[in-house]
Each structure stands twice: as structure tokens, then as C-alpha cells.
């Protein structure tokens, strides 16, 4: 008889210890970077906590005489905090604890224990500091405003918020892992996410409608009347959303019990969803189907293609990476979310202020958005299909060709996605010359960004398994956060490098007729490509020098 206790009880403590060790233990090499990342994460989370404290304190103090408006602002604030939390998690890959749960599936550990341990590890992480600050501000403001009930309700509301927000994040993580095997599910999820985002924006605008009154021209510009009317019907449901339900509970009053009940029901529902998703994962095996005759036929076609393209050294790497990326459900899903972007532009462009109405702003905006969507892959481009990197490094191929091939594949995807917002703008009346200039600017920006991303990938190779491929990366939380920040640094460096180009477009966009504008953009592309080639030469030389370190970091693991 096995010694193992067959009823899986009492594993929570063990799992929590495992979470803590794997999230915060630095790697043997590069431990300093791990610690620096961890420290930065704590500092920035603490700063965000202080800011959230100020915001909620301000809300409760300024609306002291109008409890209804105060409560509305509070639950809206908590909802915004949730969006911030999700965005932060997305940028830094993960901001709280997390381990590759799939390694535990063959142990007698229940899904309940796995979900609970991950929930506790996330709540105990520094990402909870902003929420702590927000609800502490509620409590302080409540005391100041002479509403002690509000102050008392802050602590349970904080707990409700943290549990709801983290259960929601976990459900998203588990669902993303499923898309590894289900393309349709992934794409449906991306579209549903986009719809949710648009829905939240509309909801936000309806709130503005309420707070500023129906006659506000700003509201009328933002939301069509029929949509506003339809959305008004949904307003009573809004306080029940994850995040917002915690603050709506603070509002208390006669509705305290049903609202607390709804918040509890939401937690129970999310917990059940997490368990179910995890159970499905645990019983889905991770087995890849075998090769089919169709795949073999594709390989033969490729072999024929290589004959004519063989003289261009990056070509095989371009084809390999393009195929890999086109099959990567996470990348495809990230890029699909850009479908939602034109709606942001419409909202910004309809703002009465002239600042947001300019074409240059719209172009910069969607470019930044595109690069953000792509940055998780591009800045770590050597980690894309890292299992194949050993073969690449072992082959007598110039390193510039390896990098250029990867960049070409990323650029091809980037341009494919670019078609969506450009098409949207043309449909909304953008002149073709202006659209052409926008595409050229995007090419220049993309090239410089990829050139800088190559440098970062060579200097700081990290074996990241993005969300969706594994439940969680095998890299410490601090390192993941540092990578997220460095992605932003690369984006900022791109903007700095392209400053002359942006300045030119800003200066001449209104003054020039379309044709000279196009010429200016063409000059910008040349500038961007020259910059890219210089950066590529630098990165490939560095890659040759650092090859063994890259190999060790990426192929052997973290």
C-alpha cells in the first residue's frame, strides 16, 4: 500500500511555500537583476498604493455632503482600479505569485487547493498595495466625512476586491492556457475581451452622462443616444461587476445585504469557474497530435521555396519564425485585440479639444498600441521558440541573418495588423496619401523598435514562456516585472530615436499638401531603415560575443 494519504487534505501550506519560493527565489546567475526587479515592483506598487490612497481619500472627502455621488465615484474608482490591475499584470506578465501548475497535475492535489494557494499567493504579493491604498483612503475619508460605517466597511471591501480581482485574473490565465489547443476558443476570447473593453468604455461614458447631465454636449459626442439609452438599462448591474461590487458594498444603506450577497455570489462563481478551468486543464494532457500527411506536404512546398530564396540568408529564419508566430495562439490573440483600437480613436477624436483630433496624434496612438501589443514577443525575440535556438546557434549562419529573419517575421505580422486601423481611418475619410504616410511612419517606427529590441534580447535573454503556453513562467516575479519595465524603456527609446521624424510630421502635417507629406514619410522610412541596419550590426556583433551566455540562459532555462 502506498504511503501517500489518498484523501488530498492539508496540501495548502505546501503549495503556498512552493509559490513563495518559485516566485521570489532569484536565479543563480543574474540574481541581482531579479532582486532589482523585485525591489522596483515593490516600490512602484507602493507608490501606486499611495496614489490610490490619495484618490479615494479625495473622493470621500470632496463628496462628503452627497453620499450618492460619493458612492458612485467609489465603485467606479474600484472598477478602474481593477482595469489598472489587469493592465499592470499584462505589462509585467505577472505581478504576483504564480507557478507552473501543470507540473502538479499528476500529484494528488485538488483543484480547490491549487486555486486557493494561487489566490493567497497573489493577494500576499505587492500588486495588492494599490488596492490596499484605495480602501485605506476610503476608510480615512469616511472617518473625516463622519461616515464611520463607510470606514468600517473598508476592510471587508478590500478583501472582497482582492479576492474578486485575483480570481478574475486567474480565470483569464487558465482560459488563455486553453487556447493553446483551441484556436476558435482563443479568437472568441479575444473578441469577447475587445467587446468587454468597448462595453466598459461605453459604461464609463454613461456614468459621465449621469454625472454631467443629459444635456452635456461632450456626452452626446461620445455616445450615440440609442446606445446611451440601452446602456442606462445596464447601469443597475454595474455595481455587481468584479471590483466595483466591493466598493458598491461600501455604499451600504438598505441594499447592504443583497449587495454583500451578490459580491459573495460573484466570488463563489469565479472560484467555481477557476476550479472548472483548472480541472479541464489537468485532464487535457498537453499531448500534441502527431504529424499528419498534410504537414509533410507543406514541408515539401517549403523546400521548393527555399531553392529560389536560398540566396537571401535571413529567408529561412523569416519563414520559420513567421510560421511559428502565425501558429502561436497568444500572439494571434494579442494582435486581434487591436480590432478594438479604432473605437478608442473615434472616442478620442470626437473630444472637443483639438489636441486629440489631429491625425498625427491618432497615428502615434495606434502605433504605440501596436508596439505594446507586440512588445512581449519582440523585446524577447530570442526566446521565441527557444527550444530551436540551440540548433540555430550551432549552425554556421551569420547572426545578423538570424536576427533579421526574426525581425522580418515580426514586421510582417505588424504590417498585417496595421491594415485594420488604417483601413478604418480610410473608411472614415482619411485621404489615401495620408494613409500611405501613416503606413510609412509605422514601418520606420517598427524597424527602429525591432532594432532596439534585438539589443535587449541579446543583452538580457530570459527564457520566458508567455501566458498561454504555460500557466506561469519559470522566471521570478521580480525578473518578469523588470522585463515589463524594460519593454517600456525600449518603446521610449524608439520614440526618442524617431523624434526628428515625429517632429517633422507634427510641424508639417497641417501645413503640407498630401504629396510632400508622403515624401517626408518616405524620408522617415529611409532614416528608420538606416538606424535599424546600424542597430542590427551592433546586436549581431554582440550576439556573437555573448553566444554561450545566451545559449545557457535560454536553452538551459532560468
Amino acid at each position: 500500500m502506498a504511503d501517500g494519504v489518498t484523501a488530498a487534505r492539508g496540501r495548502l501550506g505546501v503549495l503556498l511555500r512552493l509559490h513563495f519560493l518559485l516566485t521570489w527565489r532569484p536565479r543563480k546567475q543574474g540574481g541581482a537583476a531579479d532582486w532589482a526587479g523585485g525591489l522596483l515592483l515593490v516600490l512602484l506598487s507602493g507608490f501606486a498604493g499611495l496614489m490610490a490612497f490619495g484618490v479615494s481619500l479625495g473622493i470621500t472627502m470632496s463628496a462628503a455632503g452627497q453620499p450618492a455621488a460619493q458612492d458612485l465615484s467609489l465603485w467606479a474608482g474600484a472598477g478602474v482600479l481593477l482595469l489598472f490591475y489587469i493592465l499592470m499584470g499584462s505589462l509585467a506578465e505577472t505581478v504576483a505569485g504564480g507557478i507552473d501548475l501543470s507540473f502538479l497535475f499528476h500529484y494528488p492535489v485538488t483543484q480547490r487547493d491549487m486555486v486557493l494557494s494561487e489566490l493567497i499567493a497573489r493577494i500576499a504579493g505587492p500588486a495588492s498595495l494599490p488596492a490596499l491604498g484605495f480602501f485605506a483612503g476610503c476608510a480615512a475619508g469616511g472617518l473625516w466625512a463622519g461616515r464611520p460605517a463607510l470606514a468600517l466597511a473598508a476592510l471587508p471591501a478590500l478583501l472582497i476586491w482582492l479576492v474578486q480581482a485575483n480570481l478574475l485574473m486567474m480565470a483569464l490565465d487558465y482560459a488563455l492556457f486553453h487556447i493553446r489547443r483551441s484556436r476558435r476558443f482563443g479568437e472568441a476570447l479575444a473578441l469577447a475581451g475587445s467587446a468587454l473593453l468597448i462595453g466598459l468604455i461605453i459604461l464609463q461614458n454613461i456614468m459621465v452622462h449621469y454625472s454631467t447631465g443629459p444635456s452635456s454636449p461632450r456626452t452626446a459626442l461620445w455616445v450615440p443616444d440609442w446606445l446611451s439609452a440601452a446602456g442606462r438599462l445596464l447601469v443597475p448591474l454595474a455595481p455587481l461587476l468584479p471590483g466595483a461590487s466591493a466598493a458598491s458594498w461600501i455604499a451600504g444603506g438598505w441594499a447592504l445585504i443583497p449587495r454583500a450577497g451578490m459580491a459573495g455570489a460573484l466570488i463563489v462563481g469565479l472560484f467555481a469557474a477557476d476550479r472548472l478551468l483548472l480541472l479541464r486543464l489537468a485532464q487535457s494532457g498537453g499531448v500534441e497530435p502527431g504529424r499528419r500527411p498534410k504537414d509533410r506536404a507543406v514541408d515539401r512546398t517549403m523546400a521548393r521555396e527555399w531553392k529560389w530564396a536560398g540566396r537571401f540568408l535571413p529567408w529561412p529564419f523569416f519563414v520559420k519564425d513567421l510560421r511559428y508566430m502565425a501558429r502561436d495562439p497568444l500572439l494571434r490573440t494579442s494582435l486581434l485585440s487591436i480590432v478594438a483600437f479604432p473605437f478608442f480613436v473615434v472616442i478620442m477624436a470626437s473630444e472637443p479639444s483639438g489636441l486629440f483630433a489631429g491625425a498625427w496624434f491618432q497615428h502615434s496612438g495606434f502605433l504605440l498600441f501596436l508596439l505594446l501589443a507586440l512588445s512581449r514577443f519582440a523585446t524577447n525575440n530570442l526566446a521565441i521558440e527557444r527550444s530551436g535556438l540551440g540548433q540555430v546557434l550551432g549552425s554556421p549562419v551569420p547572426r545578423w541573418a538570424v536576427l533579421a529573419g526574426k525581425n522580418m517575421a515580426l514586421m510582417a505580422l505588424f504590417l498585417c495588423v496595421l491594415v485594420v486601423p488604417i483601413g478604418f481611418f480610410v473608411w472614415k475619410g482619411m485621404p489615401p496619401a495620408e494613409a500611405g504616410a501613416a503606413v510609412l511612419t509605422a514601418i520606420a517606427t517598427g524597424a527602429v523598435y525591432l532594432g532596439l529590441a534585438n539589443l535587449m534580447a541579446v543583452l538580457m535573454p530570459v527564457p520566458v514562456a508567455p501566458r498561454g503556453r504555460r500557466l506561469m513562467p519559470q522566471v521570478s516575479g521580480g525578473m518578469m516585472f523588470l522585463l515589463g519595465l524594460l519593454n517600456i524603456v525600449v518603446l521610449a527609446a524608439t520614440e526618442v530615436a524617431l523624434f526628428p521624424l515625429l517632429l517633422g510630421r507634427l510641424a508639417f502635417s497641417d501645413a503640407l499638401s498630401p504629396a510632400p507629406g508622403l515624401l517626408l514619410a518616405l524620408a522617415g522610412v529611409l532614416y528608420g531603415l538606416v538606424l535599424y541596419l546600424l542597430l542590427l550590426a551592433w546586436a549581431s556583433r554582440l550576439m556573437e560575443r555573448r553566444e554561450s551566455a545566451i545559449y545557457e540562459a535560454l536553452v538551459r532555462g532560468g
Binding site: D3, V5, R27, K28, Y107, V109, A282, Q283, Q474
Partner: protein, 269 residues
Amino acid sequence: MDEHPEGAWAPRANGEAVRFDGLTRRFGDHVAVNGLTLTVNEGEFFGFLGPNGAGKSTTIKMATGLLRPTSGSIRVFGLDPFARPMDVKGRTGLVPEELALYERLTGFEALTFAGRLYGLDEMTAKHRAVDLLAWLGLEEDGGKLIVDYSTGMKKKTALGCAVIHRPRLLFLDEPFSGIDPLALKGIKEVLQQMVREGVTIFFSSHVMELVERLCTRVAILHRGEIHALGTLAEMRTTLGLADDATLEDVFVKAVGEPLGGDEAAWLTE
């Protein structure tokens, strides 16, 4: 190893350890396992052979409750691994083909955590981890992070994790690749001893010599279906082979002609 209570691994009166009945698993239009019907008795060292993509790992994942079958049934010690996953996982150990080890734990920590996850108390888990490290020849490296281990050392650690709770049934999916001959000899001896004491081992491998030497009965799987089943002598008779035919001969006969015709003739030109 620590002292075991007398007869702790004693076999149960020849019961069934694993039973597959019409087991099928499809991935889209690809059939990985097709109507597999097979029984492995308690105390058997059962070999599971097949070429790449035959469906061996898929079968093991289904038997351990990690992959739901499309149709058919599985019983492990009479239990359905999907209806009672905790009971089945508590009685079995698994060394998966793709090692599931947290690389930023040390070998000692990985073994201790595995013991704790199987329900052992902290002290027992730690004592057994020390014993296992010595048994696997890893006592010098027990404090190193697994990320710094060689493939063989990782395999040994995974094996240690799979046996720390003294399972009644052990699933080994290509467990010996990368393990040095010296350690392999010791591991084989202990596995054989475990089988003698009633533990069932379900052993999937490509290494014919190992399977021939260790296993009491073998199934040869090809394209998701069993092409031969029984002891070596039984399979020789069934397939009409000579008495001195090796398991490799049996395998080739059961599966078909070996690969490597004229397609890559340029290699030897």
C-alpha cells in the same frame, strides 16, 4: 532507503492493477489510441513498446488521469481515475516523458515537496529525500538547483519524486534516457526488487534490451493499436519467429519493415 514496515509492498492476490477497455483518444481527425483493450496485473513489470507517435505517452496520460479518453474505460486498482483522481494519484507514481520539475528548486527540495504533496509528513518526506538522493547517486548535488542538473540527473530526480510515497503502481515513460550506466544498474535492481514485493511497473521505452531484460510481459503498440501482446516466448510463437528471436526481431515483425529505404540514399553515397 528508510526501514519499511514488514510486508508493506506485499502483492494483493493477483488483482488487476490497470485495465483498459476499448480505450480511444482522438485529436481532431487524428486517432492517437484506437480501441485499446489491455489488462496489467498487480506485481507485473509490464513493458509498453512502440515506435514514435504510437500512442504510448497518450495511453499513460489517460491511465494517470491527465488526459480524458474520447471513449472507452480505464480502471486503476478498480478505480476510475477521472471519477476518483485523488485516490488513483495517491496510489500511483509517474515519471512523465517531459519532466515536470520546478527548475528553481534544489533536488532535495523537489523530493521533499513531492513527498509532502503525496501526503507524507515533513520529517518523513525529508528523511526519504535524503535516502533517495543517496540511492540515485545525487547526494553531492542535492543542494544544487535543478536548472543546473544534466538530463540524467533530472530523470533521476523525477524518478525519486515518483517513488517517494512508495506507490503501488509506477508509470515510467522513457525513464532511463540520459542516465549513466552505473546509476542505471542500481535503479534497475531497486525497481526489480519493488516488483518482487508486489509493486506494478508500467514501463514505456524504446530500449529493447532493457525491456527484454526487465519486463515479464510486453505490449507492442503501433498507430494506437496493439500489434503483439504477451511474454517474449508467446509473441515469438504468435508471430512465427524462431526461438532465438530477440525482442527487436519481434518488434520489427509486429510493427512492419524498418524505416530507411532509398529516400536518403545520398547519405551513404
